[in-house]
């Protein structure tokens, strides 16, 4: 129960952070926009392991749509977030991601539970999935692969920095 409350609060906080603050960061400059901070995927990443897979996908879909409402881009963020949620299950079951003694039922994918190296691998892979998928959907023309990769690259670095700062300062435990 405590976990649910924490996650709902986190959801609200991340949403406001993304929509009120980070969105403005990336729209405040003139010219072509290469960078963008996508912080909200962390919400999906931090949901506990015991979350059922379909619930995870539905939460990702709903949360993505809420982000889309603010970004005025129906479906773009949602599709990326659903993809990330799906990939989360795939990634944590990979042989080299599973800890030696397996995941505990009650554990959450955080630095505290599984250590910094594990979390870094987890975060870097999933964030890359999310951002590349997001920009593929945003640009929407596969032939403009260069633009997709450029945008993804800058956004990836910035988002990584923001998320790691958050994780190291707040050290969420559930």
């Amino acid at each position: 129960m405590e976990g649910i409350v924490a996650n709902v609060l986190r959801c609200v906080f991340f949403y406001l952070l993304q929509v009120l603050f980070l969105k403005r960061l990336s729209t405040g400059f003139e010219g072509y926009l290469y960078w963008n901070v996508l912080f909200y995927p962390l919400f999906i990443l931090l949901l506990p392991f015991r979350t059922p897979r379909s619930l995870l996908l539905l939460i990702a879909f709903a949360f993505g749509l809420l982000i889309d409402v603010a970004y005025d881009s129906p479906g773009v963020h949602a599709s990326a977030l659903v993809f990330t949620a799906y990939m989360r299950d795939v990634i944590i079951k990979l042989d080299w991601m599973v800890p030696r003694d397996g995941y505990k039922i009650t554990s959450t994918p955080t630095i505290k539970d599984l250590g910094l190296p594990w979390f870094l691998r987890y975060l870097s892979i999933l964030l890359a999935c999310h951002i590349v998928f997001y920009f593929t959907m945003e640009v929407f023309v596969p032939a403009q692969i260069l633009e997709i990769l450029q945008k993804s690259f800058f956004t990836y670095i910035l988002s990584m920095v923001f998320i790691l700062i958050y994780m190291l300062i707040f050290r969420p435990s559930q």
């Binding site: 059922p52 897979r53 379909s54 619930l55 996908l57 539905l58 990702a60 879909f61 993505g64 749509l65 889309d68 881009s73 129906p74 479906g75 773009v76 949602a78 599709s79 659903v82 993809f83 949620a85 799906y86 299950d89 959907m137 929407f140 023309v141």
Partner: protein, 273 residues
Amino acid sequence: MSNLLQAFSKLSGFALFLLLEVICFALIIRFNSYHQQVALSSANKYMGNLSETADEFEDYLHLNEEVERLRAEVARLRTQEGNAMYRDLDTAYASFDTIAQHFIYIDADVVSKTFLGRRNYITLNRGKKHGVEPHMGVVDDQGIVGVVRSASNYHSRVMTIFHPDARISAKLKGTGLFGSLTWDPDEQDYFHMILQDIPTHHTPSKGDTVLTSGYSILFPPDVMIGKIDDVKKESGASSHFIKVKLANDLRAIRYAYAIKNLMKNDLSELEEE
């Protein structure tokens, strides 16, 4: 709502993932004007490509028909050429038709051919019903082919120029000189023919063009035959021995045109007298 959630939870993870992505995709295309444009224009592009490919394929299916149609067109156009006409420019007889049709081209498919021995024949899929008769000349688009020997209702047999009996009246372009063109059956050379009876006072050179003379009833004048490949002057002989490289390759022939001479009877009446 809980029913809906239950229904969703029964789906396997991947199916649900696909379903949600499809919904997202629909939303993206439906509600984002940029994405809508991209989707529409690429759909147009791919549909355009697809229908172009289908069109090409269909063209290919109709290739035979098209070739037949074009051949008929070629026959019609060659019939209108100057050398297929009888011209009388003498104004004293201006009361008669000064231009009359002299030759008609009948297009035909080559249905069988053999180039093996001394006597080479081909068969055309045109016969009496189409106006083909014995003693008509046959040409293809590049050169001459032979002479019709016999015709049934729907087919005709053509003695090719590669036959010991073939004698084609030919002339050297740009001169008034003419001779007869024959094939040496002993050499089995399907690229060359021998031009005889060109008098020695004129020395033709390699590369000169050889055309039909128009003195026979078989071919109209000025139909391409080939180019001179080699000229030999035998001592004591009164004519050159000229090797002519043919313009066409008869062994690769697929289509031909039989030439009907409309003034044949006119001429033969004259000869009988």
